[in-house]
């Protein structure tokens, strides 16, 4: 699909708007329908579209495997971090009221941070799944000497 000019240009044009729309859904989650899960999938769709059109190696150059794994872990740690912050400020786990002096603002900040963490994780999980399944080749597991059995069994 790499050499089909129509797809290439369409992909180039569409890439940015999809990301923007994803971010919109991410940060308007508390006013209108949206939130971490949906936004994460939309943003991942942009990267997958790019991977499909420009090939897996280009996709991996855009988001290398270690970055992908790091983003995944970072998302979960942000979510957990907000919870631990609540505990540190003498509230209970995931207690948003104590994050800021004014409880309703605290709730606001808490939910946005948590949703951002979720968004980050979902994006990197979807991307990791795509690369794992697309990049899976059986000979990697055949009797090749000392090859990594890694693969995306995430």
């Amino acid at each position: 699909m790499r050499d089909n000019p129509v797809l290439r240009t369409a992909a180039k044009i569409l890439f940015a708007p999809i990301i923007v729309f994803g971010l919109y859904v991410q940060f308007h989650g508390d006013y209108s329908p949206g939130g971490g899960f949906q936004a994460g999938v939309i943003i991942a769709a942009a990267f997958i579209l790019h991977g499909l059109i420009f090939g897996l190696e280009a996709g991996r150059r855009l988001v290398p495997e270690w970055l992908n794994l790091a983003m995944l872990a970072a998302g979960v740690l942000i979510y957990g971090g907000v919870g631990v912050a609540g505990m540190a400020l003498d509230g209970l786990y995931l207690d948003y009221n104590v994050l800021l002096p004014d409880p309703s603002a605290g709730q606001h900040v808490g939910i946005i941070l948590v949703e951002f963490g979720v968004g980050l994780t979902v994006t990197s999980v979807m991307l990791a799944l795509f690369h794992a399944f697309a990049g899976f080749s059986e000979d990697r597991f055949a009797d090749k000497p000392e090859d990594t059995a890694g693969g995306g069994s995430q």
Partner: protein, 499 residues
Amino acid sequence: MSIASIIANLPALVVVIPLLLAPIAALIPISGAAWLVAVIGSGGALVSAFLLQGAVSNGSSFSYHLGSWPPPWGIEFVVDSASALTVLIMAALAFVATLFARKALPAEINEKDIGKAYSAWLLACGGLAGLVMTGDAFNLFVFLEISALSSVILIALGAGTDRRALVAGYNYLIIGAVGATFYVIGVGFIYAVTGSLNMADLAARIPDVQQDTVIMVGFGFMVAGILVKAAIFPVHIWLPAAYAYAPSAVSALLAAIATKASLYVLARILFTMFAGVPDVTALALEWVLIPLAIAGIFTGTILAIYENDIKKLLAYSSVAQIGYIALAFGIASTAGVAAGFIHIGNHAVIKGGMFLAVGGYFLALRSRVSLSAMTGLGRRMPITTTGFLICGLSLIGLPLTAGFISKLYLVRALIAEDMIIVMILVLVSSALSVAYLWKIVEILWQRPEGEEAPLHGGEAPALYIPLWILAIANLWLGVAPTPLVDSANRAAMHLVGGL
């Protein structure tokens, strides 16, 4: 992070510490460092569980509101003598298994995957702890899935040595997912009728709803789902393959704690959520749980007698022991439920120890440990084999070992409820279990030398020290069982109370 806030947040810490350290472990490529993270995770959970058990040792119980949303809206962690005891047993066994994993996991899994293996390990520990702590029915489903999926990953990691681990993992995934979905359907029915998900709130609302059909169907789905996860007789088929082909450290972890959490959940469903409708639960106990438990005891023991692969043999014996616990809960008297909790503690220590010993054999023999491969190991690996023997004698219930205490209290509960036929069946099956243990002991010690599998490096202290911790625990719980027995009685009083 003042000390007071730590104490106040203990119930959450037991679950949060392992869960939050899991992603960190996944990022670390060096196996030693990743193991350290795992030790910190399981150690932290153990300390919190120990403090929690201390807090409720006077029979009190308290609830912890996540995100300070009060129940019945918010998710609530319930800490009472029953849940604290179960979490403490699981955290202790998880910690010992993690110590064992230092040398055991790298020997069987590719170096690059070690970080991810420990991450799944911590997820499993955190998920199981959450399963026991949570007081919210749907949150329980989430923890059920967290622990199930991470256990599947851990089992499938055994593919490094035996490719059937992949099929075992796959089957566990399918059957576990179907079980969990059954549970969710049950919760859906109960939620549709009562409108609440909090267990304590449900216990209050269910009696006055009295639309029997919906309650009955919901109860049926929930119990069926949990029976699958607890590997009770007809739906236990995933257990032997899963424990046999998983890496040895994983078999020890799963054998010791995985099914215990589901059994505890079964007790909570039967004795707290549906306490208000005794005729429904009585029906399930008498016609479902007890017959299945007895059938499980006999199939497990008989299959174990004829099994040649040692880990599958121990897995079948686990099915039988789970049958004992389910039977104890089935008796539904305070003495019976107490016997169930005692055996949860004792079986975890027994089976954990035996799988650690078999792990030690596997790492020395470097090949699948079938009974023929174990000939004469008694002389060549004396330390591991004596530990294995102590746990084995505890399995068949030799006096002065933990197994004897749980058999004593189970038979006592049975006689008190004068279920004489059931008692005879239990005793006959425990006599049968002597058969398969003696088969192993004869092979370990008495078979003359001659055709013996080569040993690669003798016994490593890192492998037999955790085993001996559990062996000594076996003897300790056998001679002075009062701490376990008292907390089990308190748990039973709390759960079954005036029943």
